[in-house]
Point group: C2
Chain length 390, copies 2
């Protein structure tokens, strides 16, 4: 297997930008990614591209990939549109890595994009349900706030997790977002206010959920043995794992763990030759606060019943022993669905290169970061481990 490295990453500022087109956003991410390749990068070098999106902006329903490549100056390359709900970006990244690992492709890109502001409010509400099991969950009247709310209640019941611990995830991540110039929600959230916010779905208030976001991100990967013609700071893809599970939560063995995430983590750790202890920091999928609590257990950072404590004792704060969602996560940085998994890679690469923007955001010499990207309520999950090259 050919070793694979990331040589450049790009991302738009996340937020609501109804005046900018899908192509604008994609081009911005591509220009940023190419500019991030220190020694220069010609977009025509790209041989294979994977582009993650769920809604395709609501208009270009077919052949989405070549249309985006046009905007990036990469037309001609083999390209495919990848859809795995909110994990579209993570799976796009996995496939770019596999393509280069095959030895058939020298340079590939993984990108993600979502322009939710182009969709009417009704359709944006629908996204909350279309990635669960439509027949058994959505048509029964529930949607993601309800599904994740039930998971949260069950976690409280089985593991003694408290509402304050769960909502503490949002407080931490919103704090982290303040310093991130590319984050959407850069305003502090107090725990007291969060608990008093309007109810979304028991036990969640509005503060427990991510928002509606436009954004795009891109990562350029290549064979490790070509990296130094592009950059002196390549970042190694040390591990890649992915898995699926029953889409409807009631079909699974447990509601308080995501087996797809456990499979993905197991494979990523095995490939990297490390365990959870080898991870210095992580970007995880906190579409709802409980998502980050689940991630702590599924990634082996602790046992499920200890997950709430990691929030309480500050272990996963920026200044803690193992920072999680230093970028602000989905709740603070924003969650432009298809872009999210690539935005995680963007954050990790910058941290490993020592180039994270924003006051006090750069971690002290981290060696390995992990990205955890969940589709729906865990129907599909991708996990990647990136490593600073010595």
């Amino acid at each position: 297997m050919t070793d694979v490295v990331v040589i450049g990453v790009g991302q738009t500022a996340y937020g609501m930008v109804p005046h900018r087109t899908l192509k604008d956003l994609f081009a911005d991410a591509a220009v940023d990614a190419c500019a991030g390749v220190d020694k220069g990068f010609d977009p025509r070098l790209v041989e294979e591209a994977y582009i993650g999106t769920l809604s395709t902006g609501g208009s270009q329903l077919g052949n989405f990939a070549p249309l985006m490549l046009e905007a990036a100056g990469m037309i001609g390359a083999s390209a495919v549109h990848v859809e795995n709900a909110c994990a579209s970006g993570g799976f796009a990244f996995r496939n770019a890595v596999l393509a280069v690992a095959s030895g058939r492709v020298r340079v590939a890109v993984a990108a993600g994009i979502e322009k939710m502001s182009d969709l009417p409010r009704e359709r944006n509400r629908l996204w909350l349900g279309v990635s669960g099991d439509v027949e058994w969950e959505r048509l029964a009247g529930t949607n993601f706030p309800g599904i994740y709310g039930m998971i949260a209640r069950r976690h409280m019941h089985e593991h003694g997790t408290t509402k304050a611990q769960i909502t503490g995830v949002a407080v931490k991540n919103r704090f982290n977002a303040i310093a991130n110039p590319k984050a959407q929600f850069r305003k502090a959230l107090e725990l007291e206010d969060a608990l008093k916010a309007p109810i979304l779905a028991d036990p969640f208030t509005l503060s427990d959920a991510c928002g509606i976001t436009d954004g795009a991100a891109m990562a350029i990967v290549c064979r490790a043995d070509m990296a130094h013609s592009f950059t002196d700071r390549p970042v190694k893809v040390a591990g890649s794992g992915a898995g699926t599970d029953y889409v409807a939560v009631h079909d699974r063995d447990s509601a308080t763990r995501l087996d797809a995430a456990r499979r993905a983590a197991r494979d990523a750790y095995a490939m990297a030759g490390i365990g959870p202890d080898g991870i210095d920091f992580a970007e995880v999928h906190d579409c709802f606060t409980i998502g980050e609590i689940l991630a702590y257990g599924d990634l082996g950072f602790c046992e499920p019943h200890e997950a709430g404590r990691l929030i309480e004792d500050g272990t996963t704060r920026r200044d803690g022993k193992r920072p999680v969602n230093n970028s602000g996560g989905l709740i603070g940085k924003g969650h432009p669905i298809g872009a999210t998994g690539i935005g995680q890679i963007y954050e990790i690469v910058h941290q490993l290169r020592g180039t994270a923007e924003g006051p006090g955001r750069q971690l002290a010499n981290p060696r390995r970061g992990l990205a955890h990207n969940v589709g729906g309520s865990g129907g599909s999950v991708a996990v990647h481990i990136l490593e600073a090259c010595a």
Copy 2:
């Protein structure tokens, strides 16, 4: 690079089956594919899956891949939904091949599915346009019959191709479909009747177009060095190529060739170490009759001005020197969008194994077959070359 072989293929009979669900169709294709593995195959061996579809049956808009894996007994595997318009299947196959070639994955499946009968007539008409350039083609009032019609007129102008030659593609392919038990349109079409049929879009009559079809198909691939534990008749993936082009035809250098197909063919031939002369038979993308005429030129079977003659002199008939669309092609066999590219692989694998069903359909000891799968009007194209193992 690890060599990759096909060990089993499955396909539903193509047609309109409104009483069967998406999951039914997918399961049928999976059962057929597993049964096609001579020494038996446990679906839980699948490690990576690529599932091509455009419309997702109109309901499960997100996380489509795990839902289909559930129906196939393959849940747990890493899986991704791939969308490249009518080339979704071909790109799913390419990615399964790259995944196994990477050495990270031992067994992968590529599948495709479309249930067009679940969509209202209006949406089925829309598919005719959503995979072209929505802003510059569909919103200007044209759709695929119109776009391909203009391409046909231009081919007649530039290369002297005649309407009878173009429509001769439909006559040939409908004849071929009669003997194929899994084809949708098993009734002969006379050239005279075809030319007198109602006008669809000049110069096309209804006979020049494919229909509306439900169907699913699956191919199981694995590392070549594992093949003999599954079958004594593996089929080698000798070549894989893919490319993209501007989605709107007016942005391209020429309207009478598909540069994405030429790139894809160039890479597939290079990987296989052969030229067009090494191809014994082909399944090509005749969504409209002119599509097959374009393919002859783009695949190097002849110069573009000679393409019409290949129909006239019978070169590409079942009993000709190089049969094309012996299955019936999209026009005769049917075109369930996402499934089509995998259905081509299904036909080629059976021909190379000597197991093509239907009276007189089996070709005499073919060695290599080529699959040519076009997304939209050529925005994305995948080409594969399969080879009988000696």
